[in-house]
Symmetry: none
Subunit: 198 residues, 4 copies
């Protein structure tokens, strides 16, 4: 088998196992058994168990990062809502295409190492900045009302993560539906216009 191919094959099996059982409950023995290779072979392709996990995480973050773009408000661009829906759809698709990764990103990494957690934190931090910047833009354009942008950005990320983690499993809601629900929630809130709860 070609080296690159073999490498990929190991990655795939490892990803599945990490997602199913978590990082700590997946042993190198499990991975090589699943991949059908010898113990030593694993170390020909990856420096360590940690390294393979790290690579999986990097790939995932890269793919996700490429989904997320600041809203384009130049003339001729699609309406912002549509852009946001598209971004969310892309994110959802990344996970839907490979549920395996979902569990990893949402949970698996934590507690591994300060290094891992920092990496993840930094990633989410960058995403949060993009969101904040978009909100700021919206505000400048008079579309978004003044708000605690940092809170809103984090809330949005958290909402997305939780909905993904808990609802993607159940087949009873389509990705589009979920995306629209979240966007609607963040746009208008849940209150009837004019109503007050205070």
């Amino acid at each position: 088998m070609e080296p690159a191919e073999r490498r990929e094959q190991i990655l795939i099996h490892a990803a599945r196992l990490f997602a199913e059982r978590g990082y700590h409950s997946t042993s190198v023995a499990d991975i090589i058994a699943a991949a059908g290779i010898a113990r030593g072979t694993f170390y020909l392709y990856f420096e360590s168990k940690r390294a393979i996990f790290e690579e999986l995480l990097d790939r995932l973050m890269t793919r996700l990062a490429s989904c997320i773009r600041r809203v384009d408000v130049s003339d001729g661009a699609p309406p912002p809502g549509e852009q946001l829906l598209c971004t969310m759809a892309r994110v959802f698709d990344v996970f839907a295409a490979d549920r395996t990764m979902l569990a990893i990103l949402l949970s698996g990494a934590v507690g591994l190492d300060k290094g891992f957690d920092d990496k993840l934190a930094e990633f989410y931090g960058r995403v949060a900045l993009v969101v904040e910047r978009s909100l700021e833009l919206g505000e400048e354009l008079g579309i978004v009302r003044p708000c605690n942008r940092r809170v809103v950005a984090r809330a949005a990320i958290g909402a997305l993560k939780e909905v993904l983690a808990t609802m993607l499993e159940d087949g009873d809601a389509s990705c589009a539906e979920l995306a629209r629900g979240i966007l609607d929630l963040f746009s208008r809130g849940v209150l009837v216009e004019g109503a007050s709860i205070a």
Copy 2:
């Protein structure tokens, strides 16, 4: 030292370590070193490393559960928004009082065991149901507009978790401020009245 006192002392040190390093990276050796007790003493008070973690988790979930109440809409009750703010304040206080727990609940348990994950999932499921029921009530009262309540409930939980996890650390935002920001977001959304992003 009194047994109950000693037990508590061990719990406190274990909680701190679990929170700092995660479950897997904390060894019983670490715990007993921190608590200043002998190896055997630990097992006098807890059946296993897993058992002490389980107890910490149980305690936390119990405390949190006691914070969360469905909105009371009977006559004379405080306005719903205020009630929600109070609930959120209580939740924030639980974590603020003991940051240690935060990390555990938000992340640490994952990947330990199917049992643990299920327990946590069930807890969040129960919280989600309370939120959904409150939304339903609001809808009946004409305050809340129709929406996908399951999505909104999960989004709310996710938003809270993420904000807690990332922003409680920074001293630059008070609990009240964060709670108000989230409530506002979920009430009215971020759009200027009348604006549209579609």
Copy 3:
């Protein structure tokens, strides 16, 4: 409770536990739980777990030793067969009265320690000598035919031990019956008079 009484109480419970589970599977915790005393109290009465076992073994060996007598062939003494039956009956009674001990003597001690095994070996060695001497006597009197007395003595002890260990449990054979069976076997063998198997 009187010290002597308490000591006895601990011994009884320990004996039962050792017999039921063996030496290694019986912990000091088990003994004190059964005896209803505190940990420290145990060590007021016995130096160690090993010491209590040793005492039980000593008692048993003493009791057994008192059962076994060389055959008396002086005038007016009961016939030798009757004496042997009586000896066996006494031995059986010791065990029947306290099955608890049976398991200990037949098996439990082994593997504890070189010291224990030696003690047991020496005990059986003394019993063997008594038997050998009795056979020698019988030979001198023209009752017993020449034979390898050492082998016969050991065989007799082994036969008794095995029959005790395996058949005393089953209620379907009385002690008297077992004793008679063994004595008959060792007296006449199993062959029909005049038959040959060579």
Copy 4:
């Protein structure tokens, strides 16, 4: 080193240690030190300390079982006494060839576990049945006189065990001599023909 060879090497060292010190007093550390291997290597070949003991026991029982055959009384078969001597010689040889095993089978297993004791009890039970059946056959042929066959079978096993355990060590008696002594004892008993001890 070849896996099968290494496995055997570990087994040999373990057998020696178990025989010398008993199961409980032999630690995995002892075994690996004796075998000159690393801790992990042991577990590459055996699931647990218990498992290696179990295998040793199984092997021994299998070898012994293959020694023991019911007496063949068809025409042309060797005389029964000769067959019995052969069986005993085979049994003695198994132990003589590997004294190590003797201690294990005669004693070591006891108190390990209910499972072990049961296994051993069942093995001896099967042997007893073979002996009983042979006695029955002898009776039908008019060679063996009526007797309590169950007692005789157990007595025979016990006699053999004890003689093996205590006399094989001393070099002063050959296997053949011991076997002949026991067979003679069980055939004719110890009494002079016509004598009575009642």
